[in-house]
């Protein structure tokens, strides 16, 4: 993405319901939406856009399982192999006493792993300055954007007419 500047044509909508209708219309007309930007997660948008289900939970499960294994086998190793000590008359391998730490490490690794994965796949991070199309998108505007690199005039015109038909309040273009 970084090697080439994107030319973007985008329309702003004033309401989430108008946006949903517009996205439906765009999909029906087989317009290739680059992205949709909204101030909050709009209910029902994902299925219309055809977004695939996130696989974050699978990653989370794996991170969690790693945490479980590290904690449980780590403590077992320490107390049965590395330096066995009897505490309070309990056996070396005191499984009930290992459960709390095992649980905590499972949750910890799962949470950290998922959050870090989330920001990496999103291309986000402290100091990252992703270009935005309009400052009002985080306020009250709902935006549909098309990439127009290499598109002919007539194609762009078609997109413009789509915006005006679907009730966009503003249409702009930007190179990012």
């Amino acid at each position: 993405m970084k090697d080439q500047n994107k030319e973007v044509l985008y329309g702003l909508y004033d309401d989430d319901e108008i946006l949903l209708d517009a996205v439906k219309q765009a999909r029906e007309n087989h317009l290739d939406i680059w992205d949709v930007f909204t101030p909050f997660p709009v209910h029902g948008l994902d299925p219309i856009l055809g977004l695939a289900e996130s696989r974050l939970h699978i990653a989370g499960f794996i991170y969690g399982a790693i945490g479980t294994a590290i904690a449980f086998f780590g403590m077992s190793w320490v107390f049965t192999r590395d330096w066995p000590i009897i505490f309070g008359g309990k056996p070396y391998w005191s499984v009930p006493a290992f459960i709390p730490v095992t649980f905590e490490l499972t949750v910890l690794l799962c949470a950290i792993g998922m959050v870090v994965s989330f920001y990496i796949v999103n291309g986000q991070g402290f100091g990252v300055d992703n270009p935005t199309l309009d400052d009002r998108i985080t306020d009250d505007k709902f935006c549909i954007a098309f990439q127009t690199n290499g598109k002919s005039e007539s194609e762009i015109e078609k997109l413009r007419s789509f915006f005006s038909e679907s009730g966009a309040s503003e249409v702009n273009s930007k190179t990012i």
Binding site: F40, H43, P47, L51, E53, G88, P96
Partner: protein, 442 residues
């Protein structure tokens, strides 16, 4: 189809099931294992009686409690099928009768379920003597009558208000507000009284032992069973063409409850076990020591059925939305928590029965029988260390009785409370939407 008809075919099936249960119970009467038969306590019969009575009455109670809790919390999604819980709560009436039989048995000694009910024993036992202010027939029989009677009163009150709501218009919510007040009132009453009842019915089977967690733990067990039975009931009624508006969205939520409360039950199990294991006080550890040494199948099986399997199966979202996995897990958990109560009740009563048999043997001058009884505990005893076929038969009998009561109630009113203010929300229920108010995938 909003009017359920309790057809004769199902009636016959259920009556046959009840008949099977009765036959099994008659057979159990004569089937005490050798080492306790001498005491003539018919302990296998009476423990099965107590076990199933407490299990099913508890499900009836918890259904009422859940109804009250959801109403108080302004929940809307469950309204479509709330009649099922109303119907379940009516098993409290036969439950009370069964419990009173046990209560009378304590007084007239036709069973020996409770060590503390034996006056001669109590007189020689400082701990039991000290406890006799609570562990006595007045509290057991009178308390059961008053408390379960009170629950029945609330069940009937909520049911009649709910039916009144059906008849009145939707315009004002005065009846719903009334229901809400009754529900809120029921909650603290239920919390206090159910704890006391569980101590009496179940915990006092091990008369010397105590755990402050016990009431929470058994209540969680009831809750999971009730949720499992609700899921099975909904799927059954849907297969018969009722409850078409109940979708996989509702089942998904019930599945989440099943999952979450299985984990919660495990949490309580672990807390109770770990604290007793860790502190290592002999008076307390005896409870788990007996169970681990003499009932290992029950003890470890309990954790596998009620935690490991449902946890692994229900972890994914998709399994909470499919009939196959839901039916499998619900059946598993329903049986699993019945098994859990089996494990709570049998070891204590077996000990009491052996004690009685021992006394009996001593009084009839066969000294060696006492040793025999003491050693028998470590061997494999069907009906005590593991549920036998007769126990399963009795379980089926009680289940059929429970369902018979529930279906009879369901047939008496509309399946869907048409004037409930939250009905609209319930029929449009979508899991993802409500979670965060927006967004979602399907």
């Amino acid at each position: 189809m909003n009017q359920y008809t309790f057809d004769s075919k199902l009636k016959t099936t259920l009556l046959a099931g009840i008949g099977l249960g009765v036959l099994c119970m008659i057979a159990t009467w004569f089937a005490d294992p050798a080492q306790i038969a001498e005491g003539h306590t018919h302990m296998r019969f009476w423990t099965n009686f107590l076990h199933n009575t407490v299990f099913f009455t508890g499900i009836a109670f918890i259904s009422l409690f859940v109804l009250a809790a959801f109403t108080t919390a302004y929940a809307g999604w469950y309204v479509l099928f709330k009649r099922i819980w109303e119907a379940y709560s009516f098993f409290l009436i036969p439950g009370l009768i069964l419990l009173l039989i046990l209560g009378v048995g304590n007084i007239t000694h036709f069973h020996h379920l409770y060590h503390w009910a034996d006056a001669a024993e109590v007189a020689n036992d400082r701990v039991l003597l000290g406890k006799s202010g609570f562990l006595n027939n007045t509290w057991y029989t009178g308390g059961t009558l008053v408390v379960v009677g009170l629950w029945i009163f609330f069940a009937m009150k909520l049911r009649s208000l709910s039916l009144e709501e059906d008849r009145s218009g939707t315009a004002d919510y005065s009846i719903h507000r009334k229901i809400r007040i009754w529900c809120a009132t029921f909650m603290p009453i239920a919390a206090f009284s159910s704890a006391a009842m569980i101590w009496l019915w179940v915990m006092s089977v091990d008369a010397h032992w105590y755990s402050t967690m016990f009431a929470w733990y058994s209540t969680a067990s009831w809750f999971v069973s009730a949720t499992a039975l609700t899921i099975l009931m909904l799927i059954y009624l849907k297969s018969k063409g009722y409850y078409t508006q109940v979708t996989e969205e509702h089942l998904h939520d019930l599945g989440k409850f099943l999952f979450a409360f299985s984990v919660f039950w495990t949490y309580l199990w672990f807390d109770q076990y770990m604290l007793i294991w860790y502190a290592n006080v002999g008076e307390e550890t005896i409870y788990f020591k007996t169970r681990i040494d003499q009932f290992p199948v029950l003890f470890y099986g309990n954790l596998i059925i009620n935690f490991v399997l449902p946890f692994l199966i229900l972890m994914r979202n998709t399994t909470k939305r499919k009939y196959g996995t839901l039916i499998f897990t619900s059946v598993l958990l329903f049986f699993g928590h019945w098994w859990d109560f089996f494990l709570m009740i049998k070891p204590g009563t077996l000990e009491t029965a052996e004690h009685v048999a021992h006394m009996h043997a001593e009084s009839s001058d066969h000294g060696d029988h006492g040793d025999h009884a003491a050693h028998a505990a470590s061997s494999f005893i069907e009906g005590f260390t593991i549920p036998g076929l007769l126990e399963i038969g009795t379980f089926i009998g009680f289940l059929c009785l429970f369902l018979f009561v529930a279906y009879s109630q369901l047939a008496k009113a509309d399946l869907i409370p048409l004037n409930d203010p939250y009905l609209e929300e319930s029929t449009h229920h979508e899991v993802q939407q409500d979670l965060s108010g927006a967004g979602g995938h399907h």
